[in-house]
Each structure stands twice: as C-alpha cells, then as structure tokens.
C-alpha cells in the first residue's frame, strides 16, 4: 500500500514536471501553431540562469525568479528580432527555432563546459514527508503546487482575456486580424514571452529535481514535451495536463510493476496508440 501511495504521488510529481515542461510548448503551439524547438533552448537557459543566480546569491528562490524573468525577456526579444519576420510561413519558423536550439545548446556548452553544474536548493526541498508510510520527497509537492498554479493561471489568461482569441485568429489569418484594428504583434510577443518564462520555470525546477543543470537537459526534455503535447491534443492546454498525468503515472507504475525499465517504451507506445486511434490527441480539436 505504501508503495502504491509512493508511486502515485511521485508519479504526480513527475506529471507536474512534464506538464511544466510541456506547458510553454503547448501554449505556443496551441495558439501560434509554431512547433517551437527553441523551447528546448529556454529549458536549458532557464536552468543555467537559475544556477548562476543561486550560486552568486545563495537563494534558489531568487534564482528561480530571475530565470523566469530573464528568459521571458529573452523570448520576447527573440520574437521581435527574429521570429516576427517569418509570420505566415510556418516551416521557416520551425527551422529558425531548430537553429536556435542547436546554437544555444552549443553556446551553453562552450561557455559553461559540458559537465553538469550543481544547483543548490533549500534543504527542505530534499527532505521527505511521510504519507501513509511512504517517504515523499518534498520537492515533488512543490512541483505539484507550481503545476496547478500555472495551469489555473494560464487557463484564466486564455479564457478571460482577448489574447487567446487574438492569437488563435492571428495564426489563421494574420492580415485579417490587423484589418479588425488589432495590433497582433504585441499579442504574439506577449505569448512568446510567457512561453519562454514557463520554459525557464520548468528548466530551473528540473535542475532542482536533478540537483544539477546540464547543457543538453533541454534537448532531452523537449522530446518528452512534444510527446505530452501530442498525446494531449494539438492546441489543448487542458489536454497537455491530462496527458502529463497519464504519462507520469503510467511511467512510474510501469517502472515498478512492469518489466524492468518499461517506462520509456510505454510512453512511445502510448504516443503511437493515440496517433493511430485518435490522431488529434486526447482532447485535441478534430482539425483546425
């Protein structure tokens, strides 16, 4: 019983991490239809920014905040300086972000070396709390809380503000949105900044879970983020959340109860199954 509780709660923690990693990608993909490979770059940069600041100031919280703000600003810059020229042509956008992913990962490795860097987190995060006999690491609770907050905040942003509408419409037909008197560019920049900030948040928290940041943490997380977004359904923020929970729990159970190390294959299988049975994803729109 305590094992099951342990697996379930840590599985939810894993799900929370996957959701955070996927959320920025899902937001940008869902709203702007950009398959943003640079998301991987921000996952890495966020981790390194958090590490730099934490190392200098000794405060992980400050590191986290600085990472989020810094990456949001950087993402906004990237959108205005680079991506903006390419609206209307999706493939070049994908390509641009691929280039950024490759370049930024290499840059980080060049500057900080290829060894992982240790990220010091507050002691309480690494301690455990017993629930029904299962020792749960406290950082998993942190993950779950942050993920829930992000989910609620983003849902409100999409439902309560016009930005969601503007961007969905802008993706479909950008000139027509401007012809309704709306400055699409501002909305796009904002969303991109949010995406960058979310990536940084996920990158820094990944660093906190792993206790280290590494140059290619972004690239390896990115694949998981893609898988979560696709399983959840293109353009569905809620879908990403559901998929993250599914993947996190399934992986955790498979790793314990299943054949040794079935955890990674099961994710791939799940993806293949979803694509074949329900190509638009669990909660995706039929086709947009």
């Amino acid at each position: 019983m305590s094992t099951f509780v342990l697996l379930t709660i840590t599985g939810l923690g894993l799900a929370a991490l996957y959701f955070l990693v996927a959320s920025g990608l899902s937001l940008i993909y869902g709203l702007m239809d950009v398959l943003n490979f640079a998301h991987g770059a921000f996952l890495t940069l966020g981790g390194y920014a958090a590490w730099l600041v934490t190392d200098a100031t000794g405060s992980f919280t400050l590191g986290l905040v600085c990472a989020v703000i810094g990456c949001a600003a950087l993402a906004a810059l990237m959108e205005t300086a680079l991506l903006r020229r390419l609206y209307g042509s999706h493939v070049p956008q994908v390509l641009l972000t691929v280039g950024l992913l490759l370049a930024v990962t290499a840059l980080v490795r060049q500057v900080f070396g290829s060894d992982a860097r240790q990220l010091a987190t507050p002691a309480w995060m690494n301690e455990v709390t017993e629930i029904l006999g299962a020792p749960i690491p406290n950082n998993r609770f942190l993950l779950i809380v942050v993920a829930v907050v992000v989910y609620l905040a983003m849902s409100a942003f999409l439902a309560r503000t016009r930005y969601g509408l503007i961007i969905r419409a802008g993706v479909e037909n950008r000139p027509m949105v401007t012809a309704l008197g709306i400055d699409v560019r501002r909305a796009f920049t904002l969303v991109f900044a949010i995406g960058g900030g979310l990536a940084a948040l996920a990158g820094a928290l990944t660093g906190a879970i792993n206790n280290v940041v590494a140059p290619d943490q972004g690239t390896s997380l990115l694949i998981f983020a893609f898988i979560v977004v696709i399983i959840g359904g293109l353009g569905s923020f809620k879908g990403s959340a559901v998929a993250a929970v599914l993947v996190g729990l399934l992986q955790q159970y498979a790793n314990f109860y299943g054949l040794v190390g079935a955890g990674d294959l099961i994710v791939v299988l799940l993806l293949a199954a979803v694509l074949l049975i329900r190509p638009q994803g669990l909660l995706g729109r039929a086709s947009a």
Partner: protein
C-alpha cells in the same frame, strides 16, 4: 492549420532541368583522387590524400541522405522527424549481416530491409498527416533508438556501435590506402540517388507529390489517392536512405548509434534548408556544405570548440536572410 499548404508559399515549384554541367561536374568529381592538388585552408591535404577523400566520401553520403529527405520534405510536404531510422537500418543491417553471412548477403538483406521497413512503418505513420505525422515518425525513430542503444538481443552493440567485420569485406574496401574506392562508391551513391530522385520528380507521381504538398484534399477529389502517393514517396525516399546507410557503414567502417538520435534527423533538416528545400541541387549542396563544416570547423578554429554553435547560427541567419537556401544564390530568381 495545414503544414503542407503553408510550405507551398515559400517553396517555388521546381523544374528539374538537365544540362551539360552535371555530367561535367561528375567527371571532375570522379577524377579527384588523381589530383595531387591541395586547396590550402579548405582542405587539410591534397585531394588524393586518404583523409580528404574520406571526408569527401562522408560528404557525398550525407548529401545523398539529404536528397532523399528533401524528396519527402521539400517536394511532397511530409515533415518527418524519423528519417535517420532508415539510414540506421541500412548501417546496422549491413554490419550485422556482414558479420554473420558475408558481403553479398549484407547487400541483399539491406535491400530487403530498405523496402519492407518503410513500407510497413510508412503504412502506419501516413494514416495521419501534418504534425501528427512528424510525431509518429519521431515515435518510431525513438523506438528504434531505444532498441539500438538498449540492445536487448545483443546485436547492435548498443551505444558502442558495431565495427564492420572487415575480414569479410572485399579487399578494395578495406584500409586507408583504398580510400579512393570508397570515395567512388560514395560518389556513385550520390549520383544514383540524385538521378533516381530527379527522375521520380519528373515522373507522373512526381507531379502528384507536389500537388499533395499544395492541397492534399483536392488531389483526392481529382480521383487520386493521396495515401498511395505519399506511401510511394515515403518508401522510395526511405529505401534510398537505407542504401545510403549501407554505404555510410562501409565508408565509416561500422554502424554507430548517433544516427538513431533525433538530432541526426534535425541535421538533415538543416542540410536541406541550408541548401534550399524543394529546389534542384538544394539538398545536395546543403548536405555537402553541412557535412564539410561539421567536420572541419572544429579543426579550423581553436576559438570555437563547438561546431554546432557556428552551424546553428549560420542556419538561423540563412532562414532569415536567404530563405531559398544556398541554391537560390546560384540561380536567378525566375518565375515558376
């Protein structure tokens, strides 16, 4: 939104044209091993030296792979993130069959795998389109990568890779002194691939592929079954990639797990766009240049340790300022 229609706006319709330049270049390329000429800085030795020939062999192989990728991506509008799987299939089938059964069997098995694997996987992946297709191919490639690296049946050598059982190879393929033969083999592969793809594009299905890239639904209403055509393009492209994988293994002396990594396929994407996707010669040029740079940058510069930093940046600049790729530099912009 539909990826393929969007792409159509950036990609011009290419009209492959034959000219005298192609055979002339081919003859020149074939004569390189006899040229005891060195281009300083650019190459670290004379053309006839094994090191340069080896590099050029790799460039030819990768250019061939890039061409097969462009057939999918640039001309049919199918964005695949799993193309490396077929190159890997070619490499590993060759290495495994060579050790077990010898050279002739290795070729036979590779051809068979190159036909059956893409037919089977393509039949599944092509049930979906757009990003979902990209993800399905990614999923299978990931499964392939996991298979290779984890190596449950102890055949692939895991991340250590599988060196060729060179004692079972014909003598002319073994040893540094025989670099010219491997170069001609790679050049032959490139010529064959380019010719096959060019022929296919100029064929009747070739036209349909481009129409599918533009507007798939409309193709169906005209009475053509897009699925069949896409599967055809997918199989042809993957088959040629498998073939290239075989030559790659012969040139590099073994199969290695890097090819199954998703960054390998991303590299292909970069090559194709670098050269100019959906353009004659685009992928070829991109494949040559990218492979050259990724091998030589580290050697050329002591300041920049990470070649991908330069390549990634170059790629970004190119996408922004030369969306047609390098190939668009050589040709005046014309209509159609």
């Amino acid at each position: 939104m539909n990826l393929s229609t969007l792409q159509a706006r950036v990609l011009p319709a290419a009209e492959p044209r034959a000219s005298w330049a192609t055979p002339a270049l081919l003859v020149l390329a074939a004569a390189l091993p006899y040229l005891n000429v060195q281009i300083p800085v650019l190459f670290d030795g004379a053309f006839s030296s094994p090191g340069v020939l080896h590099l050029m062999s790799l460039m030819c192989v990768m250019a061939a792979v890039a061409i097969t990728y462009d057939l999918l991506f640039g001309f049919t509008g199918l964005l695949s993130f799993g193309h490396g799987l077929y190159v890997a299939a070619g490499m590993y089938t060759t290495a495994v069959a060579l050790a077990g059964q010898g050279f002739a069997a290795a070729i036979g098995w590779t051809l068979a795998v190159g036909l059956v694997l893409p037919l089977a996987l393509g039949a599944i992946c092509l049930r979906v389109s757009g990003i979902a297709f990209a993800m399905a191919t990614l999923a299978f490639a990931q499964a392939g990568a996991i298979f290779v690296v984890r190596d449950p049946f102890r055949v692939t050598g895991g991340e250590l890779g599988l060196a060729l059982a060179y004692e079972r190879l014909p003598e002319w393929l073994v040893g540094v002194v025989n670099a010219p033969y491997r170069y001609w083999m790679a050049l032959g592969l490139l010529a064959l691939t380019a010719a096959a793809v060019r022929w296919a594009l100029a064929s009747r299905p070739g036209r349909v592929w481009r129409a599918i890239r533009d507007n798939e639904g409309r193709v169906a209403v005209l009475g053509l079954r897009p699925y069949a055509f896409k599967l055809m393009a997918f199989t042809l492209s993957s088959f040629l990639a498998t073939l290239a994988g075989m030559v790659y293994a012969l040139v590099a002396g073994g199969a290695h797990a890097e090819v199954t990594d998703s960054t390998f396929t991303l590299g292909l994407l970069v090559m194709v766009v670098l050269g100019g996707s959906g353009r004659p010669y685009g992928a070829l040029i991109g494949g040559l240049v990218y492979t050259y740079l990724s091998h030589r940058l580290g050697e050329l510069s002591t300041v920049i340790g990470e070649p991908l930093l330069v390549l990634g940046t170059l790629f970004v600049v190119l996408v922004l300022f030369l969306p047609g790729g390098l190939a668009s530099l050589t040709r005046k912009k014309g209509k159609a």
